[in-house]
Amino acid sequence: MSFIRFEGVNKTFGNGNHVLKGIDLELEKGNLVTLLGPSGCGKSTLLRCLAGLETVTQGRVYLDGADITDLPPQRRDIGMVFQQYSLFPNMTVGQNVAFGLRMEKAPKAEIEGRVRRILELVHLEEKIDQYPAQLSGGQQQRVALARAIVTEPKVLLLDEPLSAIDAMLRRELQVEIRRLQQRLNITTIFVTHDQDEAMVMSDVIYLMNGGLIVQHGSPIDMYTRPESKFAATFMGHYNIIPAEAFSRACGEGVDCADLAVRPEVFQMLAGPLGREGSYSLRGRVVARMPHGNIVRYTVDCDAMEIDVDVVLDGAGLFELRQEVFLSVDKGALIHL
């Protein structure tokens, strides 16, 4: 029996915008699931429908066996962290975190203890009497996280919580959120438009586009086995090559519309290399860009522009306008 279930959920806004076009989704307890997609795909709206902050135009929402579609947010037992303006500015960190417990009318003595413990978990116990304005963005979000989980809700929702945080800190927080989630074993739904973030954190990724779920799976599956051109271009830096052009270049027929190939599966050499079970292409380097530990070359092969990633391992770089030979395993090509 799934923990969270969306059945035929449709959402149309007052201005006629049909944002969710029939979502059927079942989520298991204890997982960290990511809703991933470009702006406007409906991922935040779906999250807010679960939270009760938006009403569903059509369809039902179930949580832990109960139909919560018509319940107000107060009665859903769900915690949520927003992208910004999470904390109440007129209350200290401690008062913010204690708020939900106060609304539940928990006994005072108990509140204090629980607030302290949760702040220790996010390593901010010494800030308990400070105001949000005195904390950095990252610290504020950690407090918001603590506040959302201290009441032990059934589900934790995170709506792009790290989008306003700078890049270095973001990676730290991703790991911290993931660890916390696993330690408390709390069912969590994370919304983001950043595929790297989704890959780092999730048990399952749901890719959305235009109000529909287009593919789902584990991070590795989503990355290595895209089922559509959209998935291929969104999940990673895939090369999308028209099959016709490829056939002409390597002399073999291919029976689909496009081929998706990851930049890192090519072998790039100065001289030709024929191998069993692989295709060979010849081309010229037209661009070279360093990307940290890899170098990304753009190779022009007969009207196809192919990006190839080569690990920077001291073996020397290829030059612009150098003639190169590409070799790729037949199995590494994804037929779309």
Partner: protein, 268 residues
Amino acid sequence: MKNHKAGGNIVLVLIMVYLLVPLLLTFTFSVFGNWTSMLPKNFTLRAYEDMLATPRFFPDLLRTIIISVVPVAITVLIMLLALYTVLIFFPRLEKFLQLLCMIPYAIQGVILSVSIVSLYTRVPGFLSNRIFLLVGAYCIVILPYIFQGIRNAMRSVNMPMLIEAAEMLGASKLEAFFKVIVPNIVPGISVSALLSISMLFGDWVVIRNIAGNAYENVSILLYMTMNIVSVRTATAMFTVVFLVTLLISILVFNLQSKTEGGTSREER
């Protein structure tokens, strides 16, 4: 969250009704001859005829418009020059300028008019000319609003940056002012200018204290009509005066929407 909105709408409607009832009632009063029972009786435009027959009505209306517009134009000009010079050349004087422009709040209405009159009435020459004093007083009355309006407009176009760009392209500071800054802040100033005009249009205290019999505006005429002539005729004048201020308000509103709303918005 849905019934929250319905309750909110009720509150808004109630407030709007409360604000509109006096206006509508007074207008209704002006087109009926008799309203001593529950419903008004005897629809007639007699009041408007009487109003039009009042020889002073249109001249007063014209006088009011003139005396509302001229001080605003003068103050805008003076303020533009002063603010530009201060913000560019003497930035440390800005606070002082602001203080001078905020004092009128503390002396608004009675105190301003009364102090000017008692100071200048026995001085020989043009200084005791009532109309001259009135224009000066009106300029001070609207000073805070014009100051705010121009300063906010200059801020929002990021004046220092614009001037630098203009100078790089070869303009002098004066040219930059007239050709670049002024055209860009006109929409922003228009809102405060129109607000000031409508404020002066409805003034009664200042003009009565300073100009008294020398210059009559619609408010003075209205007061005399309702006390001496006829309440009903006064309500006809009321309607006309209100329509004029309404016109100005509509202009302000349209301009406000064009400049993305007249009130400030803060983005964090």
